[in-house]
């Protein structure tokens, strides 16, 4: 019952946020700020896919590379094969998913440190390989990627993608769908299996979770979502260059978004993290070279003092209540079995820390 209410509260919060986003173009008419919001949505989704993999205990440093696979396959399909954006979007998502399946099948067997190194190599390899293929425009990239074809609404006219606001709404629709899909995954037994693997792979195995298969599943789902955003990005930007999909700074920033918001908050954390950093870059837009230092300091401060991210600030009142109620009666927990005097101190005191 409590969970049900909580679920509704989250859903209401989500709807309010989506409506708020949808209304932004009504009072913001500067294309510059609309562009910032579109980039924010893309960044937030990429950070969500990073968190998704992190949940299963995998640290992927090639999020941006799969984003790039989506962008490049969409650009090629539309320019070389002459397909419409509406065909490119699902096709490039599928291509990215297949690529993730093949690559993941090879590299996920060695989880842990090896996986981190493998994904780092992959991220660098993507840029070098694409940058040296003339057919893909080498380091000059691909330009003149066409905008989506107009949607014909019959008597109501048609939606033409000729301004940033149109792309903003298209991006917002994708954004909402992706968040719903990600949250549905987490709510399903697949998401619980991911969570179980991340929390304790041995215990997950003893529950019958096929660790390799579920890690591969999260890798494919996460990369496919990144590929979808890549396709949208390519057609929005109209040009792509390989270095945009590099490990540094793109993937590193993606992690920063996730960590700033809090990796425990699968969808809201990345939105808050990406939003905050965009805001920061705006505030310090005059002096670029200092902004990166300030961002670095901010990340350090958050990691040290709020290891569970900025959103964990919201949990402090509940924690204080919890802490206050405990010394007086222990919440009635030790009724049947007497409390063990030598409980490991780390376990007992763990929740009292900030």
């Amino acid at each position: 019952m409590k969970n049900l209410l909580l679920g509704h509260r989250r859903l209401i919060g989500f709807i309010v946020l989506a409506v708020f986003f949808a209304l932004v173009p009504l009072w913001v008419d500067s294309p510059y700020y609309i562009d910032l919001l579109i980039v924010l949505m893309i960044n937030a989704v990429l950070a969500m896919t990073f968190v998704m993999l992190l949940r299963t205990g995998l640290i992927s440093l090639c999020v941006a590379a799969f984003w790039g696979i989506g962008a490049y396959s969409s650009a090629v399909l539309s320019l070389k094969a002459g397909l419409s954006f509406w065909a490119c979007l699902p096709l490039s998502t599928i291509i990215t998913a297949v690529a993730a399946l093949i690559i993941g099948y090879v590299i996920i067997r060695n989880a842990g440190f090896t996986f981190v190194i493998m994904t780092t190599v992959l991220a660098m390899l993507f840029v070098t390989v694409v940058g040296n293929i003339q057919w893909l425009g080498a380091y000059n990239g691909i330009s003149n990627i066409p905008a989506p074809d107009p949607i014909d609404l019959g008597a109501l006219g048609s939606i033409v993608f000729d301004s940033k606001v149109d792309f903003f709404y298209l991006g917002l629709i994708l954004f909402v769908i992706v968040i719903l899909v990600i949250n549905a995954f987490y709510a399903s037994w697949a998401g619980r299996a991911w969570n179980a693997i991340g929390l304790n792979p041995r215990l997950a195995q003893s529950m019958g979770v096929n660790v390799f298969r579920y890690r591969l599943m999260s890798f494919v789902v996460g990369c496919a979502i990144a590929g979808l955003m890549g396709s949208f990005y390519a057609h929005y930007q109209t040009f792509i260059i390989p270095t945009a999909f590099n490990l540094f700074p793109k993937t590193i920033y993606i992690q920063v978004f996730a960590v700033l918001g809090g990796v425990g908050y699968a969808t809201l954390g990345p939105i808050v993290g990406a939003g905050l950093l965009s805001l920061f870059n705006e505030l310090f837009s005059g002096f670029e070279e200092y902004s990166i230092i300030i961002v670095g300091v901010l990340v350090l401060v958050v990691v040290v003092f709020l290891p569970r991210g900025l959103l964990s600030l919201g949990e402090i009142p509940a924690r204080i209540r919890d802490w206050r109620s405990r010394p007086g009666g222990g919440g009635g927990s030790s009724t049947k079995v007497a409390r063990e005097p030598d409980t490991p101190p780390g376990e007992a005191a763990g929740s009292g820390s900030p």
């Binding site: 215990l203 195995q205 529950m207 919440g331 079995v337 007497a338």
Partner: protein, 267 residues
């Protein structure tokens, strides 16, 4: 206690000439024994005798170096741990291996992984059958907690539980996988007398509900009280097997224990 095991009872698990080497270390050495249907088998032995390794081999966490393991007549040697759980061997871990940051009920709920039948996309669309399945499993989880006496603390965060409750929760998670054979690795370690008495009742209750249990335990009083049969392991080899009474009088067993630690037999 009257032993439930008669000579013609079916073997549910057979460990056949199993060895396990870790590099040059021989943890288990040509070990053979069987677990009979609906008995409580105790596996005892001095520290470092290889008892936990045996459970690890049975449940697929370590591949056996030599020998075979049969479960219900089927060769399960070399299967992965998640496949072995699927066949019906549940296990509890020696240390408190739990999802410490989750609630007690969620720990059990996660354990139902194998019980899900509906496809993920149905859950994505909030299909009624998927939601119903989830409600049913949640109810089953509460039922397990009720049976094991953890219902009053079902919404507590696991790391805040006292040690005794955590051990019981480990058993609850194993029960959620719906096993036919339950492997317990020192379920009573670090417990006080009251907690041990509770655990004894719970384990008996589980057996009476039709499950077979094989357990490692150091507490001799508990083992002698609870187990129908006992296998004694020392240096990876079986040195004795029989009813608790026979084991207590077995000279080789007394030697194995007294040679190392006199206090253990006092319980």
């Amino acid at each position: 206690m009257i032993s439930r095991t008669t000579p013609d009872t079916k073997d549910i698990l057979r460990v056949d000439d199993v060895s396990k080497h870790f590099g040059g270390l021989i943890a288990v050495d040509h070990l053979s024994f069987e677990v009979r249907e609906s008995e409580i088998l105790g596996i005892i032995g001095p520290n470092g005798a290889g008892k936990s390794t045996v459970l690890g081999v049975i449940s697929g966490f370590y591949p056996a170096t030599r020998g075979r393991v049969f479960f219900e007549g089927r060769d399960i040697t070399g299967l992965k741990s998640h496949q072995i759980v699927q066949l019906g061997i549940g296990r509890q871990f020696q240390s408190s291996t739990l999802f410490m940051s989750l609630s007690v009920l969620d720990n059990v709920f996660y354990g139902f992984h194998l019980s899900y039948r509906t496809a993920v996309w149905k859950r994505l669309l909030r299909w009624p059958s998927a939601l119903r399945e989830e409600r049913e499993l949640k109810a089953r989880g509460e039922e397990i907690l009720r049976r094991m006496g953890l219902e009053p603390v079902k919404n507590e965060i696991t790391k805040n539980l006292p040690h005794g409750h955590q051990r019981i929760l480990g058993v609850c998670i194993a029960l959620a996988t719906n096993p036919k054979l339950l492997l317990l690795d020192e379920p009573m370690t670090g417990m006080n007398q009251t907690e041990i008495a509770t655990m004894l009742d719970l384990v008996r209750g589980i057996r009476d509900s039709g499950m077979t249990i094989a357990m490692i335990e150091h507490n001799m009083t508990a083992v002698m009280n609870l187990c129908d049969r006992i296998v004694v392991i020392d240096h990876g080899q079986k040195i004795a097997e029989g009813l608790p009474k026979e084991i207590q009088d077995n000279e080789q067993v007394i030697e194995a224990y007294l040679g190392k630690d006199e206090l253990l037999l006092d319980g």
